[in-house]
């Protein structure tokens, strides 16, 4: 099924917020690196994904540093809480040097836009997201990463290694192109955090959310 068909099927099913497991599967198809599912070796992350609970940690639906032996029991326990959820068992990323947020939305004035900035816990601390029109070219995406407070983080502060900015710029552009091409169906995409490894080592999208348009045609 094409990405458009998948999105359309979600719209037809009456979904509004698409949970992480489904959102990540779509990102993976798009060529965005996502964590390996059900790997043989730990540490692992166990999450319970459900459209009604986008903020999983607020509901105890995320467990980090889980061993492969313990994962099935933890997943079962979470599933018992939310019976129609999807349990997601993934490799836990340990090698990232910075966390980034990459999001797209429909702005009431300018239409499709893309935002990128320091992510993870820093989202709460800094309001340093760079915003551009979507789709953004890889060049524009690179320029977003070279601007503002985020640029210093990516370059590596106080001896920290530089992050793989080129891979991040590629992801930003890819997501923005995808969003702009499907903005008749999607109102927002957010990947937060993107775990960016040291330069040359790539990155992985650790969490993702897709919000479908309320007025999308079924």
């Amino acid at each position: 099924m094409s990405a458009r068909d998948t999105l359309q099927s979600w719209v037809n099913a009456g979904r509004k917020v698409v949970h992480e497991a489904d959102a990540k599967a779509l990102m993976g198809d798009m060529g965005i690196p996502v964590p390996e599912r059900d790997p043989a070796n730990g540490p692992l992350v166990v999450k319970l994904c459900h459209d009604d609970y986008p903020h999983k940690s607020d509901h105890g639906l995320v467990k980090l540093n889980v061993s492969p032996q313990d994962a099935p029991a933890i997943a079962a326990e979470m599933s018992a809480k939310i019976p129609d959820g999807v349990a997601l068992v993934e490799a836990m990323e340990k090698n990232s040097v910075v966390e980034w947020i990459v999001g797209c939305k429909i702005d009431a004035t300018f239409g499709a836009i893309v935002l990128a900035g320091p992510g993870g816990v820093l989202v709460e601390l800094l309001d340093a997201g760079e915003i551009r029109l979507a789709p953004a070219t890889p060049g524009t995406a690179a320029q977003m990463l070279g601007t503002g407070a985020g640029a210093k983080l990516l370059a590596g502060m106080r001896g920290a290694p530089a992050a793989h900015s080129a891979a991040l710029a590629d992801l930003i552009s890819k997501v923005s192109v995808f969003f702009a091409a499907h903005s008749d169906l999607i109102s927002e995409i957010e990947i937060n955090p993107v775990m960016v490894r040291a330069d040359g080592a790539g990155l992985v999208a650790a969490d993702a959310l897709i919000i479908l348009r309320e007025d999308a045609k079924t």
Partner: protein, 470 residues
């Protein structure tokens, strides 16, 4: 995202280019609601058209007929026995709606709707708005407004407005688009007072048909226009506005925008961080910057920015020389220049040597240059000092600061020095009203003139290019 035409029978409608060409240089203008009664909008429109020597034919339209201001009155639009280029509607809304239908019937090319009472009036205007939309679906004309103050174009002696704020303007490099007529008036008057001419002013009102983006695109193709100055409250087609702005700024035109209603972005429930981080005002600033727009905080800083850009002189870098007849103002200007991201570097040895011929030992020739009060006794010195810093290859922009001026030579020497360089020069004259000299030499030569370092800083910030001007 392209704009959906309002009109089903597009072929019958003049293209935007044709319509605006006609609007800015019409052969005739029908004034619907023309009146003899002082205080009525239709009377003011007629008076201002005549007073500013409009070259075409004015046709007053009023059911009572007869003559107004020596012009034969048509009892209705249908009674006019020649094609009408422009009809201006300055009547109450009910009459205006009837007149719009008549404009459609007789094939008027462009309508300027001064009349209010449409969607800007909320609920009360909704019926009128619906009828307007209905008329526009099949109308052969293009519409400016409604709820606007009109159109001014000095180049063709066209003063199609009820507001005297636009009187006596000269042609020049600035085109203005304003969703508020009053703000257009303020900015036009201030620009005119400082010797900056206007290629056109459009009070675009509700922009029900022709939008700011349409007008900007048109002005972008006008070779006289260097700067497009906009006051906007609501961007009707923001995506197209952004795309047009990018095209123009890439081609070397300057776009300065005051976007009103900054504080209006209310808090609302958002499900994602993206939604929270991309608040309306941050998006506007970011996208404006991306497409090369200079965003001014308010109408006064927008005028100050525009004055610096109107000369067409673009700095090669960010190195500023500041010369001042007083140390204090030089220091204040230096602080502001550095805050705006400019350098105030030490001048070249050769420049310092040239300056020391005029500056006494207790002054300073490094940068900022303190000429001291001694120069007041030698009116031509300031001009020579300005020339010297402009000749410095390590300087991209020069700022000269004067206070009270004892005689005319002073102003003329600075204006002469301005003419001799191609670098941007800003003049700060804090005591124009306490000086025994006229500033005409500045105005006639288009020298950017400010009354304080803070306002010159707005001009300086604009020379940086895309970004925010306080």
């Amino acid at each position: 995202m392209t704009k959906t035409p309002l009109n089903a029978t597009e072929s019958a409608r003049p293209s935007l280019d044709d319509a605006l060409q006609t609007l800015f240089d019409p052969e005739n203008i029908a004034v619907v609601g023309a009146s003899r009664t002082k205080g009525k909008l239709g009377q003011a429109v007629l008076e201002l058209l005549k007073k500013n020597n409009y070259r075409g034919k004015i046709i007053p339209v009023n059911p009572s007929g007869g003559e107004i201001e020596g012009l034969k009155v048509a009892k209705s639009l249908s009674e006019i026995d020649e094609p009408v280029d422009v009809a201006v509607l300055s009547t109450p809304v009910n009459i205006a709606l009837d007149a719009l239908e008549e404009c459609a019937r007789i094939g008027v090319k462009v309508v300027v709707g001064v009349t209010s009472g449409f969607n800007e009036a909320g609920e009360d205007g909704s019926e009128n708005e619906a009828r307007l939309q209905q008329i526009l679906k099949t109308a052969p004309f293009r519409l400016i407004g409604p709820n606007c103050e009109g159109v001014v174009r000095p180049r063709s002696d066209l003063q199609l407005t009820f507001s005297p704020m636009f009187d006596g303007l000269d042609d020049g490099p600035v085109a203005m688009i304003s969703q508020s007529g009053a703000l257009a008036g303020l900015m036009a008057l201030r620009l005119g007072e400082r010797g900056v001419g206007l290629s056109a002013i459009v009070s675009s009102g509700n922009e029900t048909d022709i939008t700011a983006a349409d007008l900007m695109e048109y002005f972008g193709a006008d070779p006289v226009t260097r700067v497009i100055l906009c006051y906007l409250e609501e961007l009707r087609d923001g995506r197209r506005f952004a795309e047009v702005a990018k095209k123009l700024t890439d081609a070397g035109k300057q776009v300065v925008v005051v976007k009103g209603g900054r504080s209006g972005a209310g808090t609302r429930a958002v499900q994602s961080h993206t939604g929270a981080m991309a608040g309306d005002d941050r998006v506007v600033s970011s996208i404006f910057r991306e497409v090369g727009v200079i965003r001014a905080r308010d109408s006064v800083s927008a005028v100050d920015a525009t004055i610096a850009l109107a000369t067409g002189r673009k700095p090669a870098g960010r190195r500023v020389a500041i010369i001042s007849v007083t140390g204090g103002l030089g220091v204040e200007m230096t602080d502001m220049a550095e805050t705006e991201g400019f350098e105030v570097p030490v001048l070249a040895d050769k420049t310092q040597k040239a300056l020391s011929e005029y500056v006494p030992y207790y002054g300073s020739v490094t940068n900022p240059v303190d000429l001291t009060g001694v120069v007041l006794a030698n009116p031509s010195y300031v001009g020579r000092c300005l020339e010297a810093v402009c000749d410095d290859p390590g300087i991209d922009i020069a700022i000269a600061i004067i206070t009270f001026v004892p005689n005319q030579t002073f102003v003329e020497a600075l204006a002469e020095a301005y003419k001799k360089t191609n670098k941007p020069v800003l003049i700060i004259w804090t005591g124009a009203s306490r000086s025994a000299a006229s500033g005409d030499a500045f105005r006639e030569n288009g020298v950017p003139l400010y009354d304080s370092p803070a306002r010159a800083a707005s001009g300086l910030a604009a020379l940086r290019g895309a970004g925010e001007v306080q």
